[in-house]
Point group: C2
Chain length 185, copies 2
């Protein structure tokens, strides 16, 4: 079984090589193959920035099509929600009927984070125009489409409390996803 390793991991140092390497090693221990979005990607020479982005999109889609499921790092990234590229990938795999699993290293529900975002006035320099919009409150880690997809796959989003500063790198939640998958196989 090939598992696509979705997440903002690729924005860490050296395209997240260390974290993604550790994830692949963990996968191997559970008898599955972890596939990094970066696998086989070369810096495309001579392309303008937009075309480079498109080339990476194409490679990521190819990886997803070659995989049998996804484990997504849903930890909030640059804001109160998870990385939108990862959200796209969860939707992509859900539509393909492949198992969708995910973990977040921040345990508060989405509603709690959104309320604190407005209460702290953090939105004022960012998107003041969202003031007064309704906040979904389904006791889920993020927008309901994510938890919905994981639930529809027969799994549960893992919420993991980790030490400050380890939010993007701690792997307990990732391993808990592998255990969920193992129980099902």
């Amino acid at each position: 079984m090939r598992l696509y390793l979705a997440g903002p991991d690729v924005f860490l140092n050296n395209f997240g090589a260390e974290l993604l390497g550790a994830k692949k090693a963990l996968c191997a221990r559970y008898g599955v193959e972890g596939v990094s979005p970066m696998d086989g990607q070369l810096a495309p020479g001579g392309l303008d920035p937009f075309a480079q982005g498109v080339a990476i999109y194409t490679a990521n889609v190819r990886h997803m099509r070659s995989c049998d499921g996804v484990i997504a790092n849903m930890t909030p990234f640059r804001g109160i929600s998870m990385d939108v590229g990862t959200a796209f990938e969860m939707g992509f795999m859900a539509a393909a009927g492949k198992p969708v699993l995910g973990y977040s290293n921040v345990t508060d529900s989405y509603a709690v984070r959104a309320e604190s975002y407005y209460r702290g006035r953090h939105h004022e320099g960012v998107d003041r125009y969202t003031e007064g919009t309704s906040i979904e409150s389904f006791d889920m880690t993020d927008n309901l489409m994510m938890a919905g997809a994981v639930h529809a796959s027969g799994f549960e989003v893992v919420r993991c409390r980790v030490a400050a500063g380890q939010e993007l790198t701690a792997l307990e939640g990732f391993e808990a996803c592998l255990r969920q998958l193992q129980r099902r196989r």
Copy 2:
């Protein structure tokens, strides 16, 4: 042709009834049918919040499967990126091989917004742990998976400058998407 109307529109007053109604009327003028995520959804009685969220997920997926394409409102929502539920839906439709279109009522590229997020220290009350992560810079409106999907469909993300306060409701960008689609049909 049935078009799924993805976006944070549903978080506006009365589940975005006014905005989604206006989008449907515009769709009709272009000879297509706009499908709102809220169509036919009843407040599910007697369910706990999580199960309510799952019920909405299921209904949204049914709507997406019944549609032939999507126009996504990609305007940044509660942060520097678009709504993650909408991102999920773009991925879902891309995997199904259906045309993916989108618009943003904020014109800055993602890189510009992300840099301003850190420069203004807006991240400090939100996700300080993302400090130092690399910022993708492909002259795209958001994470490359979105623009990549729109591009792979043969379209372009519409960037629309609108009056302050109209970011979530202005429809010029939406109509520009309908025109792109019309030129292709």
